[in-house]
Symmetry: none
Subunit: 206 residues, 4 copies
């Protein structure tokens, strides 16, 4: 029993070693420019060992979305539930999103690249995760509409893209920036833009 537990940990170790190594390598060079040998070297295992834990090179990417990002996106819901009003839920969501991506720069890179591919190598996983995120926003918006804090005349599908896209681009810009800066500090101003828009409202009224 002890042995079994140890083995399992060992196994997990190798599995995670390889996965983490792969993410680093993919992040730097992109999936297609990365070789299995590079991943193996970075993970400190033999090339062949990778095939004991992953069906093939592609499968590493699939597992990445299953293991790493599912965990991250799962945490989003917890975070959203901590807030009560719609604007706060949105704020918490975006903050957490940026926080996580800032902490996991390499994950962020791989995520950005692969979700924008056409022939997605982890299509199913990406769709599932994307759906989770969109559902979360749907719920927030709908709650806001019930609360009366959000307009009722919105095409919710579009609002989702509006929010997702903006967050995405804020991350994307950060990833491609020459110098590093704090990504999380973008959260509140961004959410404010979502809510209020860019319009100058009449001062006497406001």
């Amino acid at each position: 029993m002890v042995k079994s537990a140890t083995n399992r940990v060992e196994k997990n170790n190798k599995y995670h070693q390889i996965l983490e190594a792969a993410i680093k390598v993919f992040a730097r060079q992109g999936f297609h420019q990365s070789t299995v040998a590079q991943i193996a070297k970075k993970a400190g295992v033999a090339d062949g060992t990778i095939y004991l834990y992953f069906k093939n090179k592609n499968d590493i990417l699939v597992q990445f979305f299953n293991y790493k990002t599912k965990e991250v996106f799962g945490s989003f819901r917890t975070e959203v539930d901590r807030a009560d009003t719609c604007p706060n839920k949105l704020r918490y969501l975006v903050r957490r999103h940026l926080e996580e991506f800032q902490l996991n720069r390499e994950m962020a890179i791989v995520y950005q690249v692969e979700t924008h591919q056409n022939s997605r190598l982890a299509e199913a996983q990406i769709r599932e995760m994307s759906q989770m995120y969109r559902d979360l926003i749907s719920e927030i918006i709908e709650q806001g509409q019930q609360e009366g804090s959000i307009r009722k005349d919105l095409y919710v599908g579009l609002v989702k893209r509006f929010i997702i896209g903006a967050v995405d681009e804020v991350i994307n810009t950060w990833l491609h920036a020459e110098e590093d800066y704090d990504l999380v500090s973008m959260a509140d101003p961004l959410v404010e833009l979502f809510i209020k828009g860019i319009e100058q409202r009449d001062k006497t009224i406001d």
Copy 2:
């Protein structure tokens, strides 16, 4: 004169044949999965012919950004100049953007993929184009602030990402959608979101 014109067209023909074929192939399979042989076949030329017009496979992508997208992004400015007020400029810009990308689905795919890569194969071209777009939005926002239609307390850098990202995601969703729908119809509602945000404003005031 006729001959000269013909020659020019002829010459352009091969170059454009290859470029258009390449875009189609890249759009379907991604750059790395595409082979020079596939491009040649689709263009109706021999493999070697490609190397008379392009330095190497990579150069096809670079030329694509120089020729195809530069043209498209150039047209954006013309469109923006046709409108006078800031909201209209924004509306015209987004409409045109979605129009062009809807008309050139394959270009759109390649554009989306390559601009989100980490190790960008056409880095210089992408940066230049991206800069053009951001400058355009900067101008619009600043004009709006002078006009009094746009809030003055905005971090313009963030506004740019907010707009670009949202448009990007609207296109991205369209590209990955199971069924086809009219992309351009998203333009006005989207711009309205930029301007007004999602907030429910006080009814007595509104």
Copy 3:
């Protein structure tokens, strides 16, 4: 210990298999006309295997000069040291040279071709070996001059070329001959020519 020895032999085997095969192929067709696939086939390995032992096709040639000919030229010194007088040293050197080249016909061919190229693919190696040979002759001549058996009014640099060239051509002729004959039997008459020249000396004096 046995295992270690076996491993070493095994390892050496593949490396040498390829090298020997390459020499045969190069000898028959010349370096540029030889393909990696031909070498692989002759060595009984897969094409890719060659790149586990050699950096590229060119490197095979470089290794050939490092491994094969360095060994041969090293043996020359041993041979020279066995003799005491200058004429004998020269005799032993030339004999050994012709012997080795006769035994390794393919090595001889590759050697002849590559050392006469202009843009030498193994420049460094060839220079080094060539230098070894010239140094050996220098020593022999100088010793002969001290002994009194060799004229002191010689331009040693020229003597080296005189000897090297003659030996070279004797080998070259043998390599291009229609029918095979004993190369080593040329050694003594050739050395005699070096020493005595072709001149008929006055009989009363002689």
Copy 4:
């Protein structure tokens, strides 16, 4: 008739232009590394034009040996005939040989390389020329033996290689030398080595 003559000259011009250009290119890069396009460019003609004057790339090399070196080797006989005694004939031959090769460095390079190849691309031409040279030396030696100036116990075949090889190597060394020096000045000392050898003869007798 005038036109015909003109045409012929024109034709010859192009033919020689290409041939001279090819020699330069071959000399710098070797036959296999040289491309038809490079030769055409250096000759100032179109790629296709080369095929109006030469059957293929190989044929350029064949023509080179037919045209350039046959001329040079023909001049050797004239030179030899100017002298009367054997040693002088030998001296004139070697002088002329070194003179010609010094004047035509590029020819010398191509000659050296191609005559040492195994699979000779101009086999027939090289054999013929080589034969001419060997015949010339045979005649000289035989005359010397009749004159009494050359030993009669020589294996003439070996003497030929001895002389040819030494001259060859003197040229080869010159071609590969870092700095330029006068090749012709080697002629007389070299011939003296042929005749007298390197041996120190008894002083009282000498």
